[in-house]
């Protein structure tokens, strides 16, 4: 019998590639012989654009790196710039607001992952359940910032706007309710034999392979690697919160699924602690060379001029370079900023989790079926904007 290898272009327009990923797949029957990801369809040159902008004006750009977790990206960037400027302390209230928003973003991102991953494997209903809960988070952001996906409220030195009255209680209510709602997803998927068959033993990664490929986030923790930057290299005072870093045993798609679900619960846990401790007070440092003065005081000339200068010219950062990494929902998000002492960064490199995590797909897909390939794209949890930047 003559064997023929089918070359199949999965993507860039394909329902399950989560964007514009193109996979050059060679199939023997339905078995994947080789899989070669081709990226770059969503390259927007964000790193280059940032070189021509002042530090503050880059914040909206960074939010668009991973559009499903906007606030997590700008948080990483703002923290990196703060470290470059030597700002070590921001007002407590601003810090807790950042933590709450970062964790809400993590939940939103994981919910969207659950929706699409489930749908890729044919489970339609969890999609709508997960998006319903994500919509609540979007509503929080809308109440707070007026925008849903990209709140764009983090500034160097604090946050631009305080939570409106009552939002903390709403968030607390949501964080209490979500773990109960997640039982619905659990009944639909976790113990479903078809779901277990589709995900157990698919895409198995050992600890060594995780280290070799430089994977991070749930991809690394699924294989039992205890690597959560919130714990390993705490920022924003994450070390004062109590939370468990869930770890997998088998390193397969099912374990990563369980881990992401557990991470959502832990994020709820962190949010509850943060809301309880949320103090009253300022939300911005008072160094008006780098931080925006409060809006209601800008009528006063004393505040108007620094505000004007900050908007028009920006601030000068000291010469040097800095790398700061945060635990974004999809893994390790790093900002490497080189400053030549001017108002613009000389070079910015964004280490995005999706880009690094995606490379493992060639290895995982080899010898598996086409259906598994779809499951693998889902379990790596890529966002193509995050891959291409």
């Amino acid at each position: 019998m003559r064997k023929e290898i089918i070359k199949l272009n999965v993507g860039p327009q394909h329902p399950s590639t989560h964007g514009v990923l193109r996979l050059l797949v060679e199939l023997e029957g339905e078995v994947v012989v080789s899989c070669d990801p081709d990226i770059g369809y969503l390259h927007r040159g964000i790193e280059k654009l940032m070189e021509n902008r002042t530090y503050h004006r880059s914040i909206p750009l960074t939010e668009r790196v991973d559009y499903l977790a906007g606030a997590a990206n700008s948080l990483g960037y703002v923290l990196a710039v703060e470290r470059l400027l030597g700002i070590s302390e921001i007002p407590e209230r601003a810090r807790y607001i950042r933590v709450i928003v970062a964790e809400l973003t993590r939940i939103a991102s994981h919910l969207f992952w659950l929706a699409t991953h489930g749908h890729d494997l044919g489970a339609m209903t969890p999609l709508f359940y997960a998006l319903r809960d994500r919509e609540i988070i979007m509503d929080f952001f809308e109440t707070w910032a007026g925008k849903r996906l990209f709140p764009n409220m983090f500034r160097v030195g604090g946050v631009a706007r305080d939570f409106p009255d009552g939002l903390e209680q709403e968030i607390k209510k949501f964080a209490l309710e979500l773990p109960q709602r997640m039982r619905d997803y659990e009944t639909l998927l976790t113990k479903n034999p078809i779901w277990i068959n589709r995900t157990k033993g698919v895409g198995v990664l050992t600890k060594e392979e995780v280290l070799d490929y430089g994977l991070s986030g749930p991809m690394a923790r699924g294989s039992g690697l205890n690597f959560d930057i919130r714990r390993v290299d705490p920022y924003l005072g994450y070390d004062e919160f109590e939370f468990v870093v869930p770890l997998g045993e088998n390193g397969d798609t099912y374990d990563r699924y369980l881990i992401r679900l557990e991470e959502m619960r832990q994020s709820c846990n962190i949010i509850l602690q943060a809301v309880d401790r949320l103090p009253k007070g300022d939300i911005m440092i008072e160094d008006y060379q780098v931080a925006f003065p409060p809006k209601d005081k800008v009528i006063n000339g004393e505040y108007l001029i620094p505000h004007y200068l900050l908007v028009v010219k920006g601030f000068k950062a000291p010469k040097g370079e800095i790398f700061h990494h945060t635990e974004a929902p999809k893994g390790e998000l790093g900002f490497y900023i080189v400053s030549d002492g001017s108002e613009h960064p000389y070079r910015v490199k964004i280490r995005t989790p999706s880009f690094v995590n995606l490379q493992v797909i060639s290895k995982l897909a080899k010898g598996r079926l086409l259906s598994d390939l779809i499951a693998l794209i889902g379990t790596i949890d890529i966002v193509l904007a995050d891959v291409d930047r």
Partner: protein, 342 residues
């Protein structure tokens, strides 16, 4: 001569009525599916066309009819055009032998001053052709519809469609066998393969009571035969981008769509006839009971779609051959022993 004329006319009337009923129920079925899925998934579903959106299917039909019918420059043009026809028409075949009601006409009618006996060939009953080998006929023609899908995927000159076609071939091999065996128990109890006799044998008790395993196996195979979630591997939009019907548009696509829903109705109707007492039931007319039972099973199909993920195609094969086929055989042997000694 006159007798055969009456036979032809009566059969034609029955066929036309049945086919139009099926078409209408497909439209209702599509609407029901979208509404019930909406209900399961916390959304509205279609609610704009007419009151509660009941005219949505009509609107969809008109839209598909008005679309440009693109015929691709494929190598096997005849097969490409024939495939949707095969799929649409063969899906209707099994209904020939399915009894959908009890008596629908008097025993005799007087035409042109002559008295015709309608009990001959069961003309007065709610079945188009009361075939002596009804079950065999249904088993034979219900697998024909695979050809429509297979040829469509193969002739589309599209790799995704081709993969869908390959899947349907392997899928058919894995379910068709235990589908046949799962209903064998019913035939043993009845001692007949005439569909009307099977229905009448359930006068006191439905066969699902004697054959629960057979019913479950038949429903699993039915899901596979209708290509519905969790066995909708051949279209599987997430992997194959709709699979075999990717390259079809307008009415050609509508025929596939139609065939899929007729299939669900057929599977439900066969299950009702073999296991759930067919048209039998108290108080209401027999045809109504049949429709109610079929509708319940149809809704069950939708419910499962809203609940389960999709299996992988090698898993369907291994489950079919390793577990369901032996279970069906064991069920058959156990039934045989019971029928023999009890």
């Amino acid at each position: 001569m006159a007798e055969s004329l009456v036979f032809i006319i009566v059969s034609l009337i029955k066929s036309v009525v049945l086919v139009s009923l099926i078409m209408v129920s497909v439209m209702i079925g599509v609407y029901l599916e979208r509404r019930i899925l909406g209900f399961i998934q916390l959304r509205y579903g279609p609610n704009r066309c007419g009151p509660y959106g009941i005219l949505q299917s009509v609107a969809d039909g008109i839209k598909l009819f008005c679309k440009q019918d693109i015929t691709l420059p494929v190598t096997e043009k005849t097969i490409y055009i024939l495939a949707p026809l095969i799929a649409g028409v063969t899906a209707l075949f099994p209904f020939v032998a399915i009894p959908f009601a009890d008596k629908i006409a008097p025993d005799t009618i007087t035409l042109f001053g002559k008295v015709f006996d309608l009990t001959k060939y069961s003309l007065n009953r709610g079945v188009i052709a009361d075939l002596p080998g009804g079950v065999l006929f249904i088993l034979a023609v219900s697998s024909l519809s695979v050809y429509g899908v297979l040829l469509a995927g193969w002739s589309s000159d599209n790799k995704y469609s081709f993969l869908g076609a390959m899947r349907v071939a392997s899928q058919m091999l894995s379910y068709e066998l235990f589908l046949g065996i799962s209903i064998m128990g019913v035939l043993m109890i009845t001692g007949s393969i005439r569909m009307t006799e099977i229905v009448e044998a359930q006068k006191h008790m439905w066969f699902v009571v004697y054959q629960p395993l057979g019913f479950i196996l038949y429903m699993i195979a039915g899901f596979a035969e209708a290509c519905r979630t969790p066995f909708d591997l051949i279209e599987c939009e997430n992997e194959l981008g709709s699979g075999f019907n990717t390259e079809y548009s307008s009415m050609k696509f509508a025929l596939f769509y139609l065939a899929e829903y007729i299939h669900i109705i057929t599977i439900s109707a066969i299950a009702v006839t073999l296991f759930l007492g067919g048209w039998q039931g108290p108080w209401l007319p027999s045809g109504i009971w049949f429709i109610i039972k079929v509708a319940c099973l149809f809704i069950f199909f939708i419910w499962v779609r809203g609940t389960y993920p999709r299996v992988r195609f090698d898993q369907l094969m291994s489950v079919g051959w390793k577990y369901l086929f032996p279970i069906a055989m064991a069920n058959l042997i156990a039934t045989g022993i019971c029928v023999l000694f009890l």
